[in-house]
């Protein structure tokens, strides 16, 4: 019985069931014990010496990602590239020997400008990696490991890796995205995996060892070479001898998991255990540029800018890696009347409970909280938890608030505010918290 799915289809059922369930929960007698383990977990987290904001905590670990994980983070242009790649493959398979397996991406970048936050930013347009209409803006982080001149190649590298990933997905059999009809029975699942860019360490007729990059917490990996392994360079199939030690490559593997459902598994809620088979090398792809452009840290040195929700004249950072909560409001939303909006800006003045921020378009917003949250944060939390990153003139804030779509208040009073956060930015997960 899947009550949730039932409710999702029938909106009215959700309403009635939620209210009914809320009453049942409210009727809980005081003497009923709660889940102590859950409470302990919460209390342990609270009492730990350093509590970062949830977004900081969730900064991605730069360990090897499966392709499916990578795809989740793909920008629209890359999704377009996938479509182009699939179409190309479908239409040109018979001529694969003579045609590129994927098109070479072309990236055009505007002259750098300086953002409101004092960062260098560029507009990009892409060919063979998305539509020109999907051109976006990227900003270089303060602690970037690349320069603004590297940006075109970093984005091109991203397009190339995505194109190879797409090609591998459509070329080699796999079924990790498809659940069997009955998950309550044992089944096998073939998972396809694309590596990060790396180098070849050793190579023989029977095996290849790929360099494990310590900064990604990887170890060297040796895989067997079979006659079916494909070697690819410049987007074309080549001989194994055309790929050499020290070449910059990415490789594609598959691995079969045997999934065994745990007792009590149902279609709605199923725990299972999996045993992994050997990893099989499918393809070794020689990359077209130096390693530095494919480095994950190079990509993470960029932050995308997009139109702010509800404030279309401004741009907001959409990929920043963290923020520190200064204020959480209990704003009430009225369905169909109000919407959540967001504005980001640099603080130009602080006066007790009110702070003025300047957005990317130069518009001034006055943000007023019920109490002096900035003083409270600077006094009580900055040094204790956040590497003494204080909120001051020049700091950047992320402000979310609720307002009618048609209204465009520049005076964000406390009753409108949903949250006020200090914007931070990090390149790597192990970086200490740094204010934007």
């Amino acid at each position: 019985m899947d009550k949730s799915c039932k409710g999702a289809v029938e909106g009215e059922v959700i309403m009635k069931d939620s209210q009914f369930e809320a009453k049942l929960i409210a009727a809980k007698p005081q003497d009923y014990s709660s889940n102590v383990e859950f409470t302990d977990t919460v209390m342990d987290s609270i009492q730990s010496s350093e509590i970062l904001s949830s977004q900081v905590c969730k900064t991605s670990v730069n360990k090897k990602e499966t392709l499916s994980m990578k795809l989740r983070h793909l920008p629209k242009f890359a999704i377009f590239a996938i479509a182009v790649g699939v179409l190309a493959l479908l239409s040109g398979t018979a001529y694969a020997t003579y045609q590129l397996l994927w098109a070479e991406p072309k990236v055009t970048v505007s002259e750098p400008t300086v953002s409101a936050g004092g960062r260098q930013e560029v507009a990009i347009s892409l060919a063979e990696c998305g539509s020109d209409s999907l051109a976006s803006r990227y900003e270089l982080k303060k602690n970037a490991t690349i320069t603004i001149e590297d940006v075109p190649n970093v984005i091109k590298a991203r397009c190339e890796l995505d194109a190879i990933g797409t090609w591998s997905q459509s070329t080699f059999p796999h079924d990790e995205h498809v659940l069997p009809d009955d998950v309550t029975k044992e089944y096998d699942m073939v998972r396809l995996s694309s590596s990060f860019a790396t180098h070849i360490k050793t190579k023989s007729d029977s095996s290849i060892t790929f360099v494990g990059l310590t900064k990604y917490m990887e170890e060297d990996k040796t895989l067997a070479v079979t006659p079916s392994v494909r070697f690819i360079a410049d987007g074309r199939d080549v001989q194994a001898s055309d790929v050499s030690i020290n070449d910059v490559v990415m490789y594609v593997t598959s691995q079969t998991s045997h999934i065994t459902p745990m007792p009590g598994c149902t279609l709605r809620n199923c725990s299972s255990s999996g045993s992994l088979g050997n990893e099989t090398l499918l393809a070794v792809v020689k990359l077209s540029m130096p390693f530095q452009y494919y480095d994950q840290f190079a990509w993470q040195s960029l932050t995308e800018r997009a139109t702010c929700q509800g404030n279309e004249a401004d741009t907001c950072l959409t990929g920043f890696s963290g923020a520190i909560d200064l204020y959480m409001g209990s704003v009430s939303m009225k369905i169909n009347e109000t919407m959540y909006k967001e504005i980001q800006g640099v603080i130009t003045s602080i006066s007790g409970k009110s702070v003025v921020i300047k957005s990317s378009s130069g518009t001034l917003f006055t943000v007023t909280t019920p109490t002096d949250v900035i003083a409270a944060y600077n006094t009580n939390k900055a040094a204790k938890y956040y590497n003494n990153q204080k909120v001051e003139v020049g700091s950047s804030l992320v402000v979310r608030y609720a307002e009618k779509e048609s209204e465009h208040s520049k005076n964000l009073i406390s009753t409108l505010l949903s949250s006020v956060q200090l914007q931070t930015e990090n390149v790597g997960k192990s970086d200490t918290v740094k204010a934007y």
Partner: protein, 173 residues
């Protein structure tokens, strides 16, 4: 009922452990709320934990004059659920989720009604229906945990809870 404001005052005065009372009080409802939005028990528990931590960190900013603590807590959790759904590229029907939140928040219940609900639960037939309703809605047990106790499948537990709710609705209407 626990004295929420007293707990909050204690916490703000440095008695972190006083927060335990609020976590105990609201965890079951919050987990079920998140589970219903996310359609996944484990994610629901994770987000509920995150919401409690976030609420604690921002307790200075909570104003009892504007909302009950539970209302504020549910808002935080709901936003985290929406964030997670968006992060996982799942379709987000914010209107449905907001309506669900509104229903939960608007549900002000009198002591007299509480006593009646408890009595009706006790009268459920067969008695195991009462046990599983209490286990799920009062003790915060998951379908999986209840199924293990009764040595049956989670599907069966879902069916029993569904039947029990039908009985309860009839008797409470």
């Amino acid at each position: 009922m626990i004295d929420e404001q007293k707990h909050i005052t204690q916490i703000l005065n440095g008695d972190t452990n006083a927060y335990r009372g609020l976590v105990d009080r609201y965890q079951t409802g919050l987990i079920i709320h998140c589970e219903n939005i996310l359609k996944n028990r484990h994610d629901g528990e994770d987000i509920a934990q995150e919401a409690f931590i976030k609420a604690y960190k921002n307790l200075n900013n909570f104003s009892k004059d504007k909302a009950q603590f539970s209302t504020w807590l549910y808002r935080i959790a709901t936003n985290l659920c929406i964030d997670l759904l968006r992060k996982n590229k799942r379709q987000v029907h914010i209107k449905d989720i907001e309506e669900r939140l509104e229903v939960v928040q608007l549900n002000h219940i009198q002591e007299e009604e509480i006593q009646h609900i408890r009595k009706v639960i006790q009268e459920l037939e067969p008695p195991k229906y009462a046990e599983i309703i209490k286990a799920y809605f009062w003790e915060g047990k998951s379908y999986q945990e209840i199924a293990e106790k009764y040595e049956t499948s989670t599907n069966t537990i879902g069916t029993w809870i569904s039947r029990a709710k039908v009985q309860l609705k009839e008797k409470l209407s």
